[in-house]
């Protein structure tokens, strides 16, 4: 319903199918880009062992898939991401709630979180390796540390920005304690919490890749590294394409629809054009 309202019928009549034309333009752009890349690679100005053409990259991708390396690597990587993100989600939500609800926690722990948030998450890697050895746990540790503080700050911000009138109205209608938190503060804070979750995911994803480049195990990061070791830029690029694809899929399949639905329901309008 909200959608129907926000999509002005005038606009629809004039342009036809806006979504479709956007996609056509996009596909044409990427097609031209690939053709230009292939043509440039064919000229041999940069030798192919440095800059392979898209055909080589696709071939390499096929090889990785057929040799049975790609899917297990993706699986292992996603597993680490899921575990690390789940840990940061649990800790970040609780920490954010505590900071948002108790002034004393905000004044103390809150300042610490702000400081730690400023630290690039890869910087946790040496400590992770010292504590957990060169292992899965060390990488998961880095992933979790990468996302925790964004999530914490998102939750805190959401609680802080809850319009006081909602709290007054809720208290006045008899909401207290846990019910007030679960039925009013949390839903009111949801948009801000969600942007914290999104930011947390990008940090988690980045630190995961950094960790996997260092720790040799079955992973996407390792496939990248292996491409470098074999002087095979086609494989490096193929893995990069896979990593980009995973990012885009998670953003559009997991976060996108939830966020759109939430914003539409509240009449906040769509952030995407």
């Amino acid at each position: 319903m909200a959608r129907a309202i926000s999509d002005a019928p005038v606009k629809r009549e004039r342009i036809g199918h806006p979504a479709l034309t956007t996609w056509i333009r996009r596909i044409v752009f990427y097609a031209l880009l690939l053709i230009a890349w292939q043509l440039f690679a064919n000229t041999g100005i940069i030798p192919t062992y440095n800059l392979p053409g898209p055909a080589d990259v696709v071939a390499s991708l096929g090889n990785l898939f057929q040799s049975g390396q790609l899917l297990p690597a993706i699986g292992a990587t996603m597993m680490r991401l899921a575990i690390g993100y789940a840990i940061s989600l649990a800790i970040g939500l609780v920490l954010g709630l505590l900071i948002g609800c108790f002034r004393i926690v905000e004044e103390t722990v809150g300042s610490l979180v702000l400081g730690l948030q400023a630290l690039p998450s890869v910087c946790w890697l040496p400590l992770g390796i010292l504590w957990f050895g060169l292992s899965d746990q060390a990488i998961i540790f880095v992933v979790a540390m990468g996302a925790i503080f964004s999530i914490t700050l998102g939750v805190n911000e959401g609680i802080k920005n809850t319009p006081p009138v909602y709290l007054k109205a809720a208290r006045n209608l008899g909401a207290r304690g846990l019910a007030l938190a679960a039925q009013v503060i949390l839903p009111a804070a949801l948009p801000a919490i969600f942007s914290g979750l999104k930011q947390g995911w990008t940090f988690a994803w980045r630190s995961l890749m950094a960790g996997e480049l260092i720790y040799f195990t079955r992973s996407l990061g390792n496939l990248l590294q292996q491409g470098r070791d074999n002087l095979d830029p086609a494989q490096v690029m193929a893995v990069m394409v896979v990593i980009i694809a995973i990012s885009v899929i998670i953003e559009n399949v997991v976060f996108g629809p939830i966020e759109r639905r939430m914003r539409e329901r509240r009449g906040l309008g769509s952030q995407r054009s």
Partner: protein, 287 residues
């Protein structure tokens, strides 16, 4: 009867509000020497001089005064959402401590929860009272009908006009069957036509339920059109400078000449108060 709202009495409440339109009426309200001082950067700000008000059960009272005279603060204190610096509030003879579902405050901005649709907004208070899903859905539907919003149960606040939002807020407040309705310029942001309609609806709801209503406004005609009594506040620090009884028959027309002449009489009192305030200000400066 309903002010005795206590945990465990939900069942009774539900039955009461189900049984008939002649739900339990309002309760009396007594404000004794309530004052409010806000601590500020440049010293404390006195928002409210000690105020005494006596409101009978089922009375419709309008608090009238210029912006910032502390009338909204008084309403918040009565609602228990803000603490008084001095004095006390008695609802049905019992001292008010904190918010209670016997006194519901309605805000100028309706304050609907944007993550809930109309139906769930109206159910909100019932849910807090622990009433079962089926029952509260029935009650909510009935009050949505009373405020003429049937068919909008699944709409969200942003899909409604200002007047409709205010209606939802009224339904949400009425659903928990409070004895006292506290209204803080609820129609202040609405256009004149919508406001007139809502006046009529509010009046008819009040006539059937006989709840005690305390209605804050800075609109003199609105106050005279709705109130049994109009209490006039002075500019900050607020105190009550006049208490008008409005004995005009209901429903009242804004064009009625008696209403108009009473309005202008009240306006004169207000203007005098503003004038005195200014003189005091000048006097204060020259010292």
């Amino acid at each position: 009867m309903l002010h005795l709202f206590a945990p465990g009495s939900e069942q009774k409440v539900a039955q009461d509000s189900n049984s008939s339109q002649s739900a339990p009426g309002g309760i009396s309200l007594k404000v004794e020497g309530v004052s409010k001082v806000f601590p500020g950067h440049s010293g404390a700000v006195e928002a409210l001089r000690p105020v005494d008000v006596d409101i009978a059960a089922g009375e419709f009272i309008c608090l009238l005064g210029p912006s910032g005279c502390g009338k909204s603060t008084l309403l918040s204190i009565i609602a228990g959402l803000e603490s008084a610096s001095g004095g006390k509030v008695l609802a049905d003879g019992k001292v008010v401590r904190g918010a209670g579902t016997d006194r519901v405050l309605l805000f100028q901005e309706a304050a609907l929860f944007p993550w809930l649709d109309v139906q769930r907004n109206v159910e909100f208070g019932l849910r807090q009272a622990g009433i079962r899903a089926k029952e509260r859905a029935d009650i909510a539907r009935r009050f949505i009908e009373i405020v003429h919003l049937k068919g909008f149960e699944r709409s969200y606040a942003h899909q409604l006009s200002g007047g409709m939002r205010q209606r939802v807020a009224i339904a949400r407040a009425l659903a928990i069957n409070p004895a006292i309705l506290l209204m803080d310029e609820p129609f202040g942001a609405l256009d004149a036509l919508t406001r007139d309609r809502l006046h009529a609806e509010l009046e008819s709801i009040w006539t059937t339920t006989r709840k005690t209503v305390v209605f804050v406004t800075h609109n003199v005609r609105e106050a005279v059109a709705l109130g049994d009594r109009v209490l006039v506040f002075s500019p900050r620090p607020g105190r009550i400078i006049a208490d008008f009884r409005v004995d005009l028959p209901r429903p009242r027309s804004l064009e009625d000449h008696q209403l108009v002449s009473l309005s202008s009489e009240i306006m004169t009192v207000l203007r005098d108060a503003m004038g005195t305030q200014e003189q005091e200000g000048i006097h204060g400066k020259s010292n």
